[in-house]
Symmetry: D2
Subunit: 321 residues, 4 copies
Amino acid sequence: MKRIAVLTSGGDAPGMNAAIRAVVRSAACQGIEVVGVRRGFTGTIEGDLRLLGPRDVANIIQRGGTILGTARSHRFRSPEGRAQAAENLRNFGVEGLVVIGGDGSFHGAHYLMEEQGIPVVGLPGTIDNDLYGTDYTIGYDTAVETALGAIDKLRDTAASHDRIFVVEVMGRKAGHIALDVAIAGGAEEVLIPEDNLPIERVIESIRQSIERGKTSSIVIVAEGVDGGAMRVRDLIEQGTGLEARATILGHIQRGGTPTSADRILASRLGDAAVSALASGTRGVMLGIVNNRIVETPLPETWERHKDVNRELYRCAKILAI
Amino acid sequence: MKRIAVLTSGGDAPGMNAAIRAVVRSAACQGIEVVGVRRGFTGTIEGDLRLLGPRDVANIIQRGGTILGTARSHRFRSPEGRAQAAENLRNFGVEGLVVIGGDGSFHGAHYLMEEQGIPVVGLPGTIDNDLYGTDYTIGYDTAVETALGAIDKLRDTAASHDRIFVVEVMGRKAGHIALDVAIAGGAEEVLIPEDNLPIERVIESIRQSIERGKTSSIVIVAEGVDGGAMRVRDLIEQGTGLEARATILGHIQRGGTPTSADRILASRLGDAAVSALASGTRGVMLGIVNNRIVETPLPETWERHKDVNRELYRCAKILAI
Amino acid sequence: MKRIAVLTSGGDAPGMNAAIRAVVRSAACQGIEVVGVRRGFTGTIEGDLRLLGPRDVANIIQRGGTILGTARSHRFRSPEGRAQAAENLRNFGVEGLVVIGGDGSFHGAHYLMEEQGIPVVGLPGTIDNDLYGTDYTIGYDTAVETALGAIDKLRDTAASHDRIFVVEVMGRKAGHIALDVAIAGGAEEVLIPEDNLPIERVIESIRQSIERGKTSSIVIVAEGVDGGAMRVRDLIEQGTGLEARATILGHIQRGGTPTSADRILASRLGDAAVSALASGTRGVMLGIVNNRIVETPLPETWERHKDVNRELYRCAKILAI
Amino acid sequence: MKRIAVLTSGGDAPGMNAAIRAVVRSAACQGIEVVGVRRGFTGTIEGDLRLLGPRDVANIIQRGGTILGTARSHRFRSPEGRAQAAENLRNFGVEGLVVIGGDGSFHGAHYLMEEQGIPVVGLPGTIDNDLYGTDYTIGYDTAVETALGAIDKLRDTAASHDRIFVVEVMGRKAGHIALDVAIAGGAEEVLIPEDNLPIERVIESIRQSIERGKTSSIVIVAEGVDGGAMRVRDLIEQGTGLEARATILGHIQRGGTPTSADRILASRLGDAAVSALASGTRGVMLGIVNNRIVETPLPETWERHKDVNRELYRCAKILAI
């Protein structure tokens, strides 16, 4: 194997640059050249490719976002688009492709391999942590840390004003971020899509906590919960008669300097992706399970469901008293 | 003067604790006792008062929010409420009152003095920086820093996705935070209430910057601008045909560890408030103008208008090219 | 079991407060009272004990240090001291003790149980991550993050000046912090006590990286390495003829707001400690291995050696090119 | 004026990139080209010059260090070196030069203008804030904030262990950083070169504060104080019989993302430098005094002394009780 390509696709996530750097440098150690593809699969179709050497990825490990850019590509969703992409990659001498992204990106990668025979390896790059086959995705730890920083700030005001804050965090259909943030932020309540906790129970619980002497409350709502923070806020106000504030943290959770955990995860996976491609592995996502790198066939990453940590969920309830 | 009281009122602002600490410790140096009032003027009416010694304010200089709490008081808006408040303060031996808050709080303080003869001194405690008589209010620098941190994170995503972000920052009717954040965050556009910039001009400017090669844009909108970030986002999408994202930073701007600038400002003003009361000064807000502490009669603080820095505004336009 | 005690001992570590909070609240859920012991084992000998209710631990999850304080106790090292400690605990109705600390603290806890029959459970609270029986210790993630933040800042200067920085991080006899920081910080070299890398190899490697075009280098040195950063700096200067700067990060690595990972780990372990004591478990440390809570007999925690992650170490070398 | 150059010289300071960006963009608005000089005066001698357009300075406002690099130049200290530098600049069509740095850099700039007739304007870029002619230098606010963050972390440990910490901060011969950090960090004592406070007074003061119930102390020492933190630590240990820890914060104070205040200051001054050169001003440093941009002849910036804020110094003493 003489030349591989790397691209980032889907929503950007902190640590993607660390993964790109690891792919480039690990490949250089093995005598393999690396081609960076601009703006995800769009760049494969448009032939927006350029060689990346070890110096090109200097001083990027600490940067949020992705130096390669990312974009949605409608054309890549068609077999014709993927054929064009494969042709461009082959013309550039690319013998394997590392795709850093989430399940949508892995779908694309899977079809590119199935239809066109391009060897692909996926790395889990998404803040949502919603991929089967890895305990953590690249960007997740940073997103939790960013959301937690916001909760800490809101608690200052909640405590000063005896107020209820309803805070919506990211995570798409999954409650991983919400659950971590709830425990780490000492939130009084947490609503996640994995659990169909009736809102009445939350309201009753807030009432009880006020009776126990809590004068402020923070309620974490995962974005996948029906109606989000706005609806929960309304229902709490109706149910308790107290004023509540809704805050949607939004896209700030995607950005920022990656944490050490995300940089290390990205570095390990980027390094492993090169070795995997070089040794003939393909069609899998590399993830981390129990601190070891494991391979999962791409389709399993979206077909199988990763549950939240139920013990954490139980713990969150106990510690909120 | 043997005993004074201190309270925080209105929205909480980072640095209020540093001001409380300074009042308590500076008073102790002069042999004056300090009474902390809980939850703003509500605490004066309810007699929620307690002595605060130098050790009671240890280890609070770095904390956001206010250890005294803050609340709105409807009863304090009536002369009867203020009479009750004054009686409670006098019964507790209070000979002067330091009010840390914004213009609403200063109204209350003013009437308390006019009607009841309680000597009051105000300290500007609000993130909005919208008080005449001081270059900076306590909490403003931290709020700008917090908003800027969020902008930096959004820029990661904006740059990675070639996207337009419309970000609403706090400031009530004033554009101070927006303007500072726009320059420091390298925003492409800024809309503030002090300027009636037609939205068409902004749209045209975004179009031009795209033509000049900018692939992403950040537009800062002060909350006092008609319709806020949501309306601006809609108009930009209609006017440019590009997708834009709106983010409302909200209450996170109120919280967090105060910056050094806010802690120092709060410390200086808290110290000066004690000296002012002790030397017979009353009915004024203490502020900082050209790095000197100045007194402004309370009514002037809300009657006179503090404009944004026009040179900064001009500068923001030039640097966004 | 009606009443248990909790103490923090040894060096403070971020997340200790989250662990205390979890012990108190989890116990309250099970109808068990919690006694807080001030200043570690010193407090057991001096009888410095007080009941802690769920409200007493509100708003501490985000605070560095330990609200209970910590201290060295010479008297506790003698059987007489431990007898006095046990008597005080029994007189206060304490039926079990949670000790949050490192190996020195676990020694004390072990003897207290062996000699006096006080049921003890240990929680790993140290930034060094040097305890057998847990993948991570409470405080470790925060310490790595703090050190990493410092490295990021130093890199700004290193890159601007084409300079070599030698940075000493904490970790006592262990290289865990150094290794994580080296990978996450993109350091060019790392020296840890677990490896007897001859300094000549490091110097040769720096020479080569300069030849490959690197104009600045960051060398991470664990404090357990012979001579620390100062000696390494001297040897590099002699060996390369280039100027190098040494920085010892020191105690800042112990403090600060704990990361989400540390708060969650501390919360889970604190909750588990109560359940363990209540169900008759004693004489063990609770740790986290492969994301599950596991029990390790106290003596094993210091008798057995926890190696650094060798794969990480290999990875660090590759990515530094 | 058709073309000017910009360089950064001396120690790097956060905000230098914001100043470079402002020079480039402000010049572009006025139809003036900008040449970036690499590695300070070294680049003028070696002819390491390249044109910088508005896009070349995109996304750098938030970065620490300086994209142009900085270095010491021995050759520039001789008239021959400066003649070579001037020739290179003229050959490249440069009609004016913006020098961002400290007093050493301004010396060089001054001689370049005096001997060679190159119009120069200086901008104060140093964390030390030790230049006459400006209230604040670029980088100072960030350095104070960084040092303060470290103090906050140390206080966690100091409070948990009842310990004395002696912390050395940067500032060369000046105590500006030390004083700000002392007040904002709630330090018990501060030693600055501007004051010849006998160390006995400090020791006596620590003794008294322990008697008043303070169990931990933080002592800030400016690097310009004789012997630095190490000597002060030794004297405190001898004088009080208590254990004390010394920490030298070092180069981390130079790096990191600049604060909003530093980015705004740098932006305003960079913009003003272009206008100044264009309008024929030369041989001056532009600074900010009472929030207005003022010009000071270069020699005055090093000949005249800027004192610390004496009122702050008094305030620090009062608030430490």
